[in-house]
Amino acid sequence: MDILAFLAQGFAVALEPQNLFLAVVGCVIGTLIGALPGLGPVNGVALMIPLSFNFSLPATGALILLVSVYYGCMYGGRISSIVLNIPGDEPAMMTTLDGYPMALQGRGGEALGVSAVASFVGAGVATVGLALFAPLLVQFAIRFGPAEYFALFVLAFATIGGVTGGSLIKSFLAAFLGLLLGSVGIDAVSGVPRYTFGLYELYDGIDFIVALVGLFAISECLIYLEDIRGTSRPTLTLGSAIPGVRSAGRCAPTIARGSLIGFVAGVLPGAGAALGSFLAYMLEKRWVGREGRFGLGDPRGVAAPEAGNNAAAGGALIPMLSLGIPGSGTTAILLALLLSMNITPGPLLFEQQPEMVWGLVAALVIGNFVLLVLNVPLVSLFAKVLQAPGWFLMPMVVMVAFVGVYSLNNSAFDLYMMLGFGVLGYALRKLEIPTVPVVLGLLLGGQMEFNLRRAMSISGGDWSILWSSGISLGIYLFAVTLIVAGLVYSWVVRGRLR
């Protein structure tokens, strides 16, 4: 089997001392960031990007570092859900429902243990899935022409709008705003500067790393400033996480179901981890029925969403790596990292740089074991981080963002730009306009336009090339289906939680 040979090659890459070190460091940092309330994988990975540039890491190393941070955040998010009843990030929201009641009953340690094992299995399933399915998707995608790629971009935007759960108008508005921002800069085909207003700093377009750090890290701090007093937190005795491992054994079927559901949700473009954990929890609740004590501290209520969101996080890497289409905010940021290193994910990446793809897969396997160790015996250390005062943490986040962005180009212009995007991100969040589509638009706009114009120059200006192939028609059909599914989904969510 080819995959095994590739995987062996990948382990050789991932076990190089530098890459191994980066994976471990990434896992620790990720768990820390994920554990902090309000800072999730999107902000965490966005904050780490300028830093990894400063390391002047090779692309494989940088990708391993950031994906380890990503996986670490998914693990860490549950810690503040369980201990503080504040989800560390959106996908960890479902974990509060049973995790916090368990902590109130003095079973916090057990909850942390169960959820760590569930996260481990979920992430493991997703990594295996990544190794099996990504090459299949690549073989399919290798036949794609510019028109098909254009359709794929449409699909990405259609679905991200459908599943973010808020208003459809606002999601699409955000996407088009991002696309318009993405057209700033010198046009790659004709060399004409667009919307630069004579500012030479804009000739290369809006630097999406600067935009990302502003949209996520700076706006988070502005949100925090609204209420600096914070809420008083009862101190809970957690106890050891080791017994949780045993009760995870009793939850094995739950974890298996949650992982599979989460993985499928993650692979769908635009769905992401929040959908994975939501579906896993809801289906488990229905499956177990009345005998379960969901919402009152049932360990299965912790195991299902955690298996689901970690599996979804891994699944979301599949469309990002094999098609170059990110399915979630965090994978969009990972894509930004790759693009700014002049690496275009997609079928060609698997052909030309297999050592990178498979090194990443192997690093995920290793990182998953590291995370299990960090999150069962050592979890109480991470829970302590939650006691650090916000007046220290938030300025630290701002300063890391500032210095990181400054050191990219040593330019004050970038810093002003970052502040501008911080204000924009804050306003969008207040307006309940999702920020992820803006990022996707900014990021994918260039590629989308490039493929559109290539398709048009192939057809000599005939627009019908865009929907003339069966594949692109199928993709548009899929996009429409997902929008309808998204509408039904948000309708169901509202019905359930009301």
């Binding site: 929201m93 208003s167 085909v189 004709s190 400033l225 300025p395 210095v403």
Partner: protein, 158 residues
């Protein structure tokens, strides 16, 4: 999803906010459309550089109109005290951005961090101590661990 769970807490009808946002975005779309006509298409390409922005500004304008006509919900907007804190924070950061090169990293950052920690609600004493610690830690991280040269204090080169 977060939208559904916070159905009641912290949400307000966005009649004013959404309409202002819609108007701004509409203006942006119209401006982009207008300016795109200055972009000449060249090189015998079927689509010139102005076509794609026009293609985007149309739906952007349509959606902004929809938002103006059918506003949704907003998160609760901050009160006056919070707005002042946010404005001051942005002011500190903007000054810091402008001063980091002329003043050098250490003095500019020290001043910025101390003010930031104050704005985030700490007492002067803890602000001074943790500000100094944070500045030195950042300096060490970037200058020595990551090997990134940060702006030195003018006249002092080491």
């Amino acid at each position: 999803m977060s939208d559904a769970s916070q159905e009641d807490a912290g949400r307000v009808p966005g009649v004013i906010g959404d309409r202002i946002a819609g108007a701004l975005l509409l203006a942006l779309a119209v401006g982009a459309w207008w300016l795109s006509h200055d972009l000449e298409s060249g090189f015998m390409q079927p689509i010139g550089p102005g076509e794609y922005p026009r293609l985007i500004s149309l739906p952007l304008a349509a959606l902004s109109l929809l938002l103006i006509l059918k506003p949704g919900f907003n998160q609760r907007w901050p009160g006056r005290a919070a707005l002042l804190r946010q404005a001051l924070t942005l002011l500190v950061l903007a000054c810091y951005a402008g001063l980091v090169k002329p003043l050098g990293f250490l003095p500019a950052s020290l001043a910025a961090v101390i003010l930031l920690i104050r704005l985030f609600g700490a007492a002067w004493k803890s602000a001074l101590i943790s500000g100094a610690v944070l500045t030195l830690a950042l300096y060490a991280l970037f200058e020595f661990v990551l090997g990134m040269p940060l702006p030195n204090i003018p006249g002092l080169d080491w």
